[in-house]
């Protein structure tokens, strides 16, 4: 077995306590939640923190809370919880789609949404999902709280705006009417990281045209997480195969994948195109269905 280098361990019992511990133990202290990204890195000794602050007892960060305009998800919410959540499935099917294909059921019992976002792995599914959902994240430090967009959170591969002495505490997802979203991933095998994955979210106007659209791609070297030209092409259009094909073509053009064991550049570009089409179809269908449901519920 590979074994991490030695470190000291402290367990936090509240967010404030965790922040204190981070301050107290200095720059070589790190938070650990699910640990499924950090511990493998530590075993390879690519990460060697001197202190680990365990935040698994911070139950205050394990919640899914819905109000009229925003869905709030605590950073410590496990993948398994997200996958099983009815409210998530109803409001943000893209998360349910993604959670089905993140790692495996056992890993999903441990891994957390906050951990996923803070790892900022370019092949990580929830990062794309949160970009597509125009999520905001709440970051708390000793001096207070700040709220960032996903674009501001992710500064590059494996790099975020969360300082060493801060905690990402919450993800906020705006709830919109006539909204649909979807995610699809192609992987070499169940449980593998994406070769390419795509996510889309659309909200439809009353006349059925696309009011807003976000399209995100995983593992294809996008800095921003979403593909702007495709989104612009969709906005204002009526959902149709022609429109999806055009947007998907732009998505394929605008990504910049690298060739690796999972596939060459041309294949990944093709997948970006193919999967964008698929998620747009599904997202628009879901938006229309949700719109219809909402209409029916009107008095």
């Amino acid at each position: 077995m590979q074994i991490p280098a030695a470190f000291d361990y402290a367990r936090a019992d509240s967010v404030e306590h965790a922040l204190e511990l981070l301050e107290q133990h200095g720059p070589e202290s790190r938070l650990i939640a699910g640990g499924h990204s950090l511990l493998p890195m530590m075993k390879l000794r690519l990460a060697r923190p001197e202190w680990l602050v365990d935040i698994n007892d911070l139950h205050e960060l394990d919640f899914i809370s819905e109000d009229a305009e925003v869905l709030r998800i605590g950073a410590l919410t496990r993948h398994a919880t997200l996958l099983e959540s009815d409210v998530i499935a109803r409001l943000f099917a893209i998360i349910t789609d993604a959670e089905h294909v993140i790692a495996d059921p056992v890993v999903r019992n441990r891994g957390t949404i906050g951990g996923s976002l803070c790892q900022a792995d370019p092949a990580e599914d929830l990062s794309t999902v949160c970009h597509v959902l125009s999520a905001e994240v709440v970051i708390r430090g000793r001096s207070g709280e700040r709220t960032l967009s996903m674009a501001d959170l992710h500064r590059g591969p494996y790099e975020t705006a969360v300082a060493q002495d801060e905690i990402l505490t919450e993800i906020r997802l705006p709830v919109r009417p006539r909204f649909g979203s979807a995610y699809e991933k192609v992987e070499r095998r169940v449980g593998d990281w994406a070769i390419v994955a795509a996510g889309a979210a659309v909200s439809l106007a009353g006349d059925g045209s696309i009011e807003q659209a976000r399209v995100g791609l995983t593992a294809v070297g996008l800095d921003s997480g979403t593909v702007t030209r495709a989104e612009e092409a969709l906005r204002g259009g009526r959902p149709s195969e022609e429109l999806f094909v055009e947007a998907a073509r732009l998505a394929g053009e605008d990504c910049s994948p690298d060739s690796d064991q999972r596939g060459p550049v041309d294949y990944k570009r093709h997948l970006a195109d193919e999967l964008t089409r698929r998620v747009l179809r599904r997202a628009c269908r879901r938006a229309a269905e949700q719109g219809a449901e909402q209409t029916c519920r009107l008095p």
Partner: protein, 158 residues
């Protein structure tokens, strides 16, 4: 550091380095060698144990993180000398060959049946999809879990 947890219903307190992995705590500190190690990257699942009733990969959990929790290993599957139906099912349906992945598979099966007493083939396959078996080709594991589901009430002498 002092690490205290419940393992197979018994409260244990032991001294261990903070970096000791839960799998090593179970195997080497507690001497329960039914839990195995097969990779370093949480891909293979031969180290699966139940933590608070849910399967986790014990090579990717620190013993310190498991402190205060309820851990169940293969040694805790049988109760008072009576085999769990899952254990009996694996024997009945040839759900194991070399036996190395078997403890993890059985624990995941137990957790699945606890939440879903009559899973279908797909649900069983999905539940064990984070665990690799190199011998059986999985079909007999699926049959074994069905056997356990169909014999839930039976008491099997151990």
């Amino acid at each position: 550091m002092q690490i205290a947890m419940t393992v197979n219903g018994e409260q244990v307190t032991r001294d261990a380095e903070p970096r000791v992995l839960l799998v090593h705590f179970i195997r080497e500190v507690l001497g329960l060698t039914g839990t195995h190690t097969g990779c370093d990257t949480s891909n293979c699942g031969v180290c699966v144990v139940l933590m608070d009733g849910k399967p986790v990969k014990s090579c990717t959990v620190l013993a310190a993180m498991a402190a205060g929790h309820d851990v169940r290993t293969v040694e805790g599957l049988a109760k008072n000398g009576t085999l769990d139906p899952v254990q009996q099912g694996f024997m009945e349906e040839h759900g194991l060959q070399c036996g190395f992945c078997t403890p993890g598979m059985m624990l995941t099966a137990r957790a699945l049946l606890d939440s879903n007493p009559h899973p279908d083939d797909h649900q069983i396959r999905e539940a064990i999809s984070g665990q690799i078996c190199r011998c059986t080709g999985y079909a007999t594991i699926v049959r074994s879990v069905h056997w356990a589901a169909n014999h839930a009430a039976e008491e099997v002498p151990g």
